[in-house]
């Protein structure tokens, strides 16, 4: 066997590379969904944490301690294996059967678990960003006749996001990495397919090597974005 053939035998055949690429695509869109939804929910969470109403504050604090202090894997197991037993049998059967244009139960419970976990962290970063906005902004806004909610939307949040951009992107990187835990509840993402490929081909280094490469590329892209944003921030004057 020539050196070229020997080298080729070590590579993964295209069908397995295809599996890994599909897994990577799943990781990307799942991470995107979690990022978008958790940011939207995180705004609500940060607002509740800084609300004037003590009831909202207490609820938000409870949410934070529940979802930040338990391991993500345990939360995913809860949503997949635990929570459905509370639903009526008919609902369970409907969720588990496949439907067009509706995600499978594995995907649904993985996304729910990941979103609820990420919201706690993203929300806290947003709250820290909001704290960085000077108090005078809120006072000036209310003096001008804005309600607190309007001040939040038009004045505080844009500035808070600029301040928290770097740590927020850090949390988004964590979200991408956390999707790998969803393989335990059946989400067919990159880690799941890497394990499948390894079980079929026994090329452990190649299977996990490619998976690592894809993760590194994804995180590096986020890092580049983060660097670009902080450079822009240094140039633009702060309000």
């Amino acid at each position: 066997m020539s050196l070229f053939e020997a080298a080729q035998a070590q590579l993964l055949s295209p069908i397995y590379l295809g599996w890994l690429l599909e897994g990577w695509l799943t990781t990307l869109w799942a991470a995107l969904v979690v990022i978008v939804v958790s940011t939207l929910l995180g705004v609500g969470f940060a607002a509740a944490r800084t609300s004037t109403r003590s009831g909202a504050r207490r609820l938000a604090a409870l949410y934070l301690s529940a979802f930040r202090n338990t391991p993500l894997l345990v939360q995913l197991f809860f949503w997949y294996f635990g929570a459905p037993s509370l639903l009526p049998q008919a609902a369970r059967e409907w969720l588990n059967a496949g439907h067009r244009f509706w995600p499978s139960f594995e995907v649904l419970s993985a996304l729910v678990g990941l979103v609820l976990y990420a919201t706690a962290f993203v929300g806290e970063e947003l709250r820290a960003g909001m704290r960085g906005v000077p108090d005078t902004q809120l006072q000036a806004g209310t003096a001008l006749g804005f309600t607190r909610a309007q001040v939040l939307r038009h004045v505080t949040l844009p500035q808070a996001i600029r301040i928290a951009a770097s740590p927020l992107l850090g949390q988004y990187m964590n979200i991408v990495k956390n999707t790998s835990l969803a393989m335990a509840v059946g989400l067919v993402e990159l880690s799941y397919t890497a394990r499948q490929v390894e079980a079929e081909t026994f090329k452990t280094f190649q299977a996990f090597g490619f998976a690592t490469l894809f993760y590194v590329v994804t995180i590096a892209a986020l890092e580049l974005l983060s660097a670009r944003l902080s450079r822009r921030q240094a140039v633009l004057p702060r309000a």
């Binding site: 049998q89 369970r92 588990n96 496949g98 335990a184 394990r195 499948q196 390894e198 079929e200 452990t204």
Partner: protein, 277 residues
């Protein structure tokens, strides 16, 4: 100046000789020298290997075999808990010397590890709620759960490509998914399924239909190329059949009075049938 290259050559020659020396000392010698046999075995797949609820220790059919082999070598046994997908990586990375974990012998796996003579014969079967699965024809329409890293997934994909297969990390997870309704049937070695079914509190609601997808021969595995270790293990397996220890261990876990009664399909050392695909 002429002396230095000579000394460097001498050091290089000595180093290569020394490494050659260690290359000849194989795994069996290492085991005897260290006094420890590291065996990878299941900790979540009764009755082959699982954690006993009362004693919190890892016990099972495979662990009994490993214990007696270690005793025959005169070394201590160290168990490395594993799940199906980690069996080969543990061997190839040197973290385990032998795998005794309900390991199906396949040609693909035999390219990467060395198998002993088969010590067990099982068939791949299904566990489902009563009435869900009566005929092999229905398999392609079902959602089926099984374990990552096993031959089960490959078999299903080869024969029933339209079936929706979800892989779980271990058989207890697959069973939980079945009971929750996430999957309509789980597939595994008939032995594991019987053991799992026997332990269900509501086992009257579940059944193992008489459908077998394939026959699987189980063997122990050693790292590729470790011929002396393989011969030692093979010799011990055949001897244990001859002096009745293999049968005694089988009856402890699968005999008529055990929790997973199953007629014995294979005596160690029987001529192996052509592997059923």
């Amino acid at each position: 100046m002429k002396l230095r290259p000579l000394i460097l050559c001498g050091i290089a020659a000595f180093a290569s000789l020394a490494s050659l020396q260690s290359a000849w000392a194989d795994r069996l010698d290492d085991i005897r020298k260290a006094g420890v046999l590291r065996v990878a075995a299941f900790d979540g797949n009764p009755p082959f290997g699982y954690i006993d609820a009362a004693s919190k220790k890892q016990v099972g059919h495979d662990i009994d075999l490993a214990t007696e082999y270690a005793k025959s070598l005169g070394v201590r046994l160290e168990l490395v808990p594993t799940n199906p997908a980690n069996r080969i990586p543990l061997l190839t990375s040197g973290k385990a010397d032998v795998v005794f974990a309900s390991f199906t012998i396949t040609d693909e796996r035999a390219k990467v590890v060395d198998f002993t003579t088969p010590y067990f014969l099982v068939g791949q079967q299904f566990l489902a709620k009563k009435g869900v699965l009566a005929d092999a024809e229905q398999i392609k329409d079902l959602r089926i759960g099984t374990e990552k890293g096993t031959t089960m997934e490959g078999n299903l994909r080869a024969r029933y490509p339209q079936a929706r297969v979800v892989l779980y990390d271990d058989s207890p997870f697959a069973l939980a998914a079945l009971r929750n309704g996430n999957v309509q049937a789980i597939t595994n070695d008939g032995v594991k399924l019987t053991a799992q079914w026997n332990q269900l509190p509501d086992k009257a609601n579940y059944e193992i239909p008489p459908i077998t997808v394939s026959k699987e021969y189980l063997g122990a595995a050693v790292p590729k190329g470790e011929t002396r270790l393989l011969e030692s293990l093979n010799g011990w397996l055949v001897e244990s059949e001859r002096n009745g220890r293999a049968l005694a261990i089988y009856n402890t876990w699968f005999g008529p009075n055990s929790s997973a009664p199953l007629p014995r399909l294979l005596k160690i050392g029987d001529a192996r049938l052509a592997s059923a695909n």
